[in-house]
Symmetry: C2
Amino acid sequence: MSAPHPKGSFRSQISVREAIAVLQTHAPTLGAETVPLTAAADRVLAEDLASRVDHPSCDNSALDGYACRAADTLGASADAPVTLRLVGDVPAGSVFDGTVGPGEAVGIYTGAPLPRGADAIIGVEFTRALGGEVALTKPASGDDVRPRAQDLRAGEVYLKRGQKLSPAALGVAAAMGYAELPVVQKPKVGILATGDEVVEPGRPIREGQVYNANGYALAALVARAGGEAVLLPHVRDDLGALEAALGRLELDLLLTSGGVSMGRYDLVRDLLFERGRVHFWKVAMKPGGPALFGHYGELPVLGLPGNPVSSLVVFELLGRAWLQRALGSLSRLPYDARVTGVAETPFRGSGFKETFARATLTFENGGYRARSTGNQSSGVLRSLLVADALAVVPPHTDILAGERLELIML
Amino acid sequence: MSAPHPKGSFRSQISVREAIAVLQTHAPTLGAETVPLTAAADRVLAEDLASRVDHPSCDNSALDGYACRAADTLGASADAPVTLRLVGDVPAGSVFDGTVGPGEAVGIYTGAPLPRGADAIIGVEFTRALGGEVALTKPASGDDVRPRAQDLRAGEVYLKRGQKLSPAALGVAAAMGYAELPVVQKPKVGILATGDEVVEPGRPIREGQVYNANGYALAALVARAGGEAVLLPHVRDDLGALEAALGRLELDLLLTSGGVSMGRYDLVRDLLFERGRVHFWKVAMKPGGPALFGHYGELPVLGLPGNPVSSLVVFELLGRAWLQRALGSLSRLPYDARVTGVAETPFRGSGFKETFARATLTFENGGYRARSTGNQSSGVLRSLLVADALAVVPPHTDILAGERLELIML
């Protein structure tokens, strides 16, 4: 066995921060497409959106009750109710034609336009209606009038390019009058598990073989990150077969798992070193050390390690950075969105590498407490099932129980 | 205007906790369906799943390097390397036919089965290969052998009924050998905005009218909670039209927005009181006070207030409780999944009602700090755009700046 002899210039053992910068340099700017509101959830907005209307569209009632003139009702109380003459009724969606004069009231419903002449509302629970009159046991107040445009003003931008469309954002877009929204196209992300030992789940397995777990986990992570996952048929360790598979695809990014280490059979490494370009190989992180990024022709390729945990951690920390840049997303990267907590168990570092240890969290006395999930061997995918966070252990550091540490939520 | 005269027995001004219990009493048990792994993300598992295989399927190498007998390599160092005879090569996915004897080594790759006779691995970086021999500058160790079934043992349950299928869970399911998974059927949740003043976005709007914002926001929340959202055409304030619309639907739950208050035109309230059954009307919460729950025939109906913020908060706190019970989900309810923080601004209570105030959070010095989003008027949907959490203000309480409070993350 011999270590490979990489050609060309590339960077090695760079920090996670540097790797993110390299990935983002090579992220494209994706185009926009228009989708109906019902298909826009969790998409990234492609343009700033200004409201097309004032919302509410007029001064209106915050309550079910009566609209009247505040000056008429001063001093009203249970002992000394004020009686007004009922001159009409205005449900939401209709407009009262007349004007409310002194001593008059109009029945009004939540959201209905405030009638001309009225400047105050009294809630129905502080009234008694008797024939053509209504008695108020409390003064009516202007505070229960919702002014026009209180929530949204026509022409003002409330949703920003790069914003992820949450349920509330979709509600705001609808309230602004939009039936469809410009969103950033989803990047097509191919996912390819390599290795002669990899078998698709559902088929029989022999000793020494392993089911393709990474592909399915990565596809779900890619979708969650806003990409369109394209799960590719598994390729055996054959450079020709791999090139033939890649030649037919229209992808924005290829994620591979496996084949990036130092062995003779590390296919993705060979593809990029021999037939493509390598930007970096090896990142000073654990798990995930062998991560590789380059181009095969025009196609960016992020080579993830074959170990399930390594591949998921590298995708979250590095792959997401490429996707979020390509989408123009304003969301913070997982690597940057940290909270702090206190270690309940020790977390060991790994020399010059930054370590990301799976941890379970509890929240006690106003803060997070983190416990290692135990075996941090990068094969133990099961540990990711229970992990709430990645505990960040800086290079050349061990974290002792009781010490403070930084946490990346999963 | 007259307040309605509700018939039959129902509960009123119950606590959020009691309302959750009532909703869950009326949640059905949904059936299961089988879906491929690629369609199972975020679904709820319908059965406990035991592994079909040991994973790894045999003792194997954690490294690229050489397999040999540990006893042969004791004392190996850079100054005094130990030389072994190379007798073969075993890539991942294949099995070495022979047996590794004393003084012998076999080239091995990450994941490849440990050859018979070998009990240790040495990483390639501590070796020099020379012709038919390899020199070790460090003793080989059994620690770099991953034992069979280290990660998963055939027959043992690793995924539980009720578990939401995260990316890691899908990876584990694949590693256990499953190509498809039994998941709980998605409940069909109809969403109906009522009110003569409501107009679909994209159409022109008149003074006093308002775009249907709630429907689109609720549809996204229902989907996120694991339901299949069915956005129904908006119905005018006409009981006959509403009944005709409902007669044709096969739903597990109907969510309405608007029409549950005390006015003459509150349609959903009338439907349930006059033609159905009411379990509760009014919950001691703010926003969301007028929330109503009942049955129209066999169909459970959760009536949400028309105010956008109220409807979203009631869905998150009450509607989710129905969905999670119907799905058999093990996830904690938003109402129960609280963290604590410190108030940076005052949060005012609302008498006997439990208050859920929109708040933005920062994380400082190991804990959360919460600021009110300002105007807590339930019309201000925009405030939900920026809110990170709902601050819980107990009944008959005001929270002062600097005091501790409970937070429900959004």
